[in-house]
């Protein structure tokens, strides 16, 4: 027997490294569901965290409110100015909604891509090491949350559901560097331009909107929304504004820098969007057959 095999410490450390690599490999594969021990651990810690985090948020919220009160006068002035605008907009929106419904009825369409049922949730915890930007929310499978649903705040989209357990779920924020994280998006303008949100520039705090065709003209300040084509998200969730456009190295596509509209740091309450329109793979093949 070789001498080094008798060294207990060496053997233990070698076994440890092998186990480490195997474990990382195992957990990196795409899993549609978590195993029950994981779910159990998550639910238990989620419960403990909710006991502590709710009072803590109340206390923190109190200080924030004091801060808000100090700004009230200034805000009130600005809001009054915008009130007139708001009335006009409201009338216009009502009119448009009515028209839209009528047109839909003519076309015999009762659901569309942009409809969703919101599930309200509050944030229990956040990943302390911020390699993966992950928040834990207090709604899970029981409440109808499923993997890959889009998560929004009032200001716009913040991320998607990464995994669920019975009573909690993990939300992966847009700012995570995950090679698998892609969102199909539209740049709103006279003509809608499609692209894919893929990646995050942590230095400039901008999302990268890639694969925009080179012949499409995009300017600073245009709005970016989800397209709803990816089978997971509803259409029309607001992502952010374009701040910069660059041509790619190969010269075939453009990349736009998008400033996320939602605050990705200070998140207390979120909504999980459950899309009303189911994704129908069957329909596509039917159409193919009839043509």
């Amino acid at each position: 027997m070789p001498q080094f095999l008798l060294n207990k410490r060496l053997i233990i450390s070698l076994v440890c490294i092998i186990v480490l690599v195997a474990l990382i490999g195992f957990s990196r594969q795409e899993r549609s569901k978590l195993s029950w021990p994981e779910q159990l651990i998550k639910d238990t810690t989620g419960f403990v965290q909710s006991i502590v985090s709710k009072p803590a948020h109340v206390v923190a919220g109190f200080f924030k409110e004091i801060n808000d009160i100090q700004k009230t006068y200034e805000e009130n002035r600005v809001l009054k100015q915008r009130l007139d605008e708001y009335v006009q907009l409201k009338v216009k929106v009502n009119d448009l909604e009515k028209k839209n419904e009528e047109l839909k009825r003519i076309l015999n369409k009762d659901t569309d891509l942009s409809e969703y049922d919101p599930i309200d949730a509050s944030v229990l915890a956040r990943n302390p090491d911020r390699w993966n930007e992950i928040i834990v929310i207090d709604k899970g499978e029981v409440n109808g949350v499923k993997k890959d649903m889009a998560v929004i705040t009032i200001d716009g989209m913040i991320g998607k559901v990464k995994s669920t357990s019975k009573f909690t779920s993990n939300v992966q924020l847009l700012s995570t560097m995950d090679p698998l994280n892609r969102i199909s998006a539209i740049v709103q303008g006279e003509e809608d331009v499609f692209g894919v949100i893929h990646g995050y520039d942590s230095q400039q705090e901008r999302l990268l909107l890639k694969e925009i065709p080179i012949d499409k003209k995009i300017t600073k300040g245009q709005d970016v929304i989800t397209s709803g084509l990816g089978c997971q998200f509803p259409r029309g969730l607001y992502i952010g504004k374009i701040t910069k456009v660059e041509t790619d190295k190969n010269g075939l596509t453009q990349t736009a820098y998008v400033k996320p509209s939602a605050n990705l740091y200070d998140i207390d309450y979120v909504m999980v969007t459950k899309r009303v329109m189911e994704c129908e793979h069957v329909n596509l093949t039917d159409e193919g057959g009839s043509s």
Binding site: V48, V52, W131
Partner: protein
Amino acid sequence: MNRVYVPLVAILCFIGENLFVSLIPSVAYDNWIFVPRFIFVFLIFVTVYYDKKTGIFYAFLFGLLQDVIYAEIFGIYLFWYPFTIYLVYLLMKVLQSNIFMVSLVTIVSLTFLEFGIYQIYLLLRETTMNFQQFANIRLLPTILLNLIFFLILFYPVKKRLEYYNKIRRDEEGMFQS
């Protein structure tokens, strides 16, 4: 109290990490990344002043917890927490356990921990930080934050742990005799 003290404080530290990140004002969020490693700092105390086996056991346990709850990549903390704590134990065998030396060991082990985890994420291609950015944005603020936490905790926790350690030793001595 003897038996519950370590797990109780460990759980408090774990929740404390969480609260720290969710309540930190966003001003401090933008330019630096303060990673609270309260549980790790506490486990250094346990290893130095109480018992090495307990320290490594809890490092393993809370490493697992961290992996399962947040990143869902098993093995990162599960491996690095116990391993670093073991290195702390090896270092402390040759060093004196006064405040200066232990804080030095804390700094070294935090650097080792952060760097190891950075390397793993670099391998997994989940980060694009280069070393310069990592050192400036992550490492220095993290060490600073945890050193402050260490200094606040040093005297009360050291006193308690040494006291419980004495009781534990006496009990073991009683059984042996």
